[in-house]
Symmetry: C2
Subunit: 350 residues, 2 copies
């Protein structure tokens, strides 16, 4: 008998961009083969230098850590929802360019590592330090720009020094898989995943605002089509939910059906998930299950008594403890980031 299983969904091969088959996964932790992959460049080469992590710039004592050093330091393990800020980009209207992610550019893993603040205790920070820059090992060309670029991003001090911003070396109890940043990856809980720099090879404290293309050109909300007016940086994950099952445009028999899915946020915790089975007119509370890790997603379920034949539009809407509620429409922006409108599924009861 065949081994039936879902597969990642390929968006591009070079660089490798593959989506998680999220509708078909039930484990709270995304199994590694299904963890979404999002790259800006071809995979980098691993060399001896990949295991060294220099910390320099506006610090008192520049130091280079070896990845082995980190293994000996006190560590913490954190369950984190990692969501690509382009997740659901394909749903924006009007359409926007870029990887046409559907709902699977989000996964959950348990990361183990050392808080960045603990490393910085060894180096100290100068009083002028304003941001910390994180540089990956991956580099290459950018469409429409001359030269070669390295994937690099900065964090403001408060986020960089947060006790849960870690330099991770393990995912789900094993060394981080190469595709996800081996040997060291910055993990920034609550922010979209571009902040969690893979193949981390350099940390630099700076006294100004960092302006790399992955911070000033990409990963910026541009609300206008033809001007850069009103741009703001992509940071915390918007409150979001997804209906995993049933599948869109499926035909079900009359009876009770379990509508279930996931919900997560980058601001506080998920407090409620509501479900509508009539296209958003009436909403009912779904039952939130699963873990309540501070940075994790929740699973939710709703028993739908569907005894009447007809066409139905199912929706889910999450709210978080910071007061954010999923909107009926996502805020359009030219590069298609931060989509978080209601999850919508059409089904027919036969």
């Amino acid at each position: 008998m065949p081994d039936i299983k879902p597969y990642p969904i390929t968006r591009s091969l070079i660089p490798e961009n593959q989506e998680s088959p999220i509708h078909f996964l039930s484990a709270a932790i995304t199994p590694e083969p299904y963890f979404f992959r999002r790259n800006h460049f071809p995979y980098p080469a691993i060399t001896g230098e990949s295991f060294l992590l220099p910390v320099s710039g506006e610090v008192m004592r520049p130091l280079t850590f070896h990845s082995q050093d980190l293994l000996r330091m006190p560590s913490k393990e954190i369950a984190v929802v990692m969501e690509c800020s382009g997740n659901n980009r394909s749903r924006f209207q009007p359409e926007v360019y870029g990887e046409q992610w559907e709902g699977g550019a989000v996964s959950q893993g348990v990361w183990r590592g050392v808080p960045l603040r603990d490393l910085l205790k060894w180096t100290g920070l100068s009083a002028e330090a304003k941001e910390i820059v994180f540089e990956g090992t991956d580099s290459g060309k950018r469409t429409g720009q001359e030269g070669t670029f390295t994937f690099a991003r900065s964090l403001p001090l408060d986020k960089a020094l947060h006790p849960d911003t870690i330099i991770a070396y393990e995912l789900n109890g094993k060394p981080i898989p190469f595709e996800h940043g081996y040997p060291l990856r910055l993990i920034v809980p609550q922010w979209y995943a571009m902040a969690s720099v893979k193949w981390l090879r350099k940390i630099t404290a700076i006294r100004h605002h960092f302006q790399g293309p992955f911070q000033e050109s990409d990963y910026m909300y541009f609300p206008e089509k033809n001007s850069d007016e009103g741009k703001t940086p992509v940071t915390a994950i918007h409150v979001n939910s997804i209906i995993q099952q049933p599948i869109n445009y499926s035909v079900l028999k009359a009876g009770t059906h379990r509508i279930h899915g996931l919900a997560w946020t980058g601001n506080g915790r998920i407090t409620t998930v509501e479900v509508s089975t009539d296209g958003g007119k009436r909403w009912e509370q779904a039952t939130i299950q699963g873990t309540r890790d501070p940075y994790g997603w929740v699973t939710w379920t709703y028993a739908w008594a569907a005894f009447e034949q007809g066409d139905y539009t199912l929706m889910s809407k999450a709210a978080d403890s910071a007061g954010f509620i999923q909107p009926a429409e996502a805020r359009w922006n030219r590069k298609g980031y931060g989509y978080n409108a209601y999850s919508t599924v059409n089904v027919k009861i036969e």
Copy 2:
């Protein structure tokens, strides 16, 4: 370094429905792991009976063939485009229920088998025979109907007796993989793939018109939303083409780009493929490459000189020797079969 490869695209697990990652495949023959899978029921069990093929009904001498018997008979090998009639269903507007196939419910394989007409020479056909019914081993429930159904379909005599309608036992030089119908599968070139019954376990000549649910309820074009008026059966594949690369909503740098894809038809052969880079105003001939198997697809390519920045809508349009041309819009039908509008891809040159 990681092994980067595309994967099938999961539409459902039970029954297993997986799409081919067609945009990322370049071989003329679809590698077996990427051959699309479309099932109506959970996979059937293989038993001793699976290797027997009784031919009865309106025949002179009912006979049961063993699959080993077929291996000893004269055989032929045919390259065949197999397209699910629901391919591209997700593109119909208004949307229709059913598996939301995008463009990958089509694959090409080389099938080896014995012409059905050769088997029927042993049994003879009675003068009253009007259709031949093919029964698979797969069975199960249907939404909205009572009872258990077996996947079964009929062919009119002329198609059943066509010398290239074969009872196949090999795909690409190997025994047919279980998921694709092992040990015996009916192969009906030029018709949509529902006609090519998998796990073939019974052939019956009948004197009337066969009316199974996979013939009278499914696989029927219903042009009206709320009535069955004007229904016609799904048979030959509509002339079709796909732009494999570039990918929709990708951003390319200024320069010459290769637009390439596939084209196929169930009526005659592909004669031309045209490409538009301005949303359908002007059309240019693409170069047709690859094999010219009578039932195979062609690969085509077009060198696009894209030196001006801007947004472009690329389209492909195929025509066949029977006079059919891909239309700008597919003919809507309630169950979403036979989609064959131009393949359309939006790209930005930066």
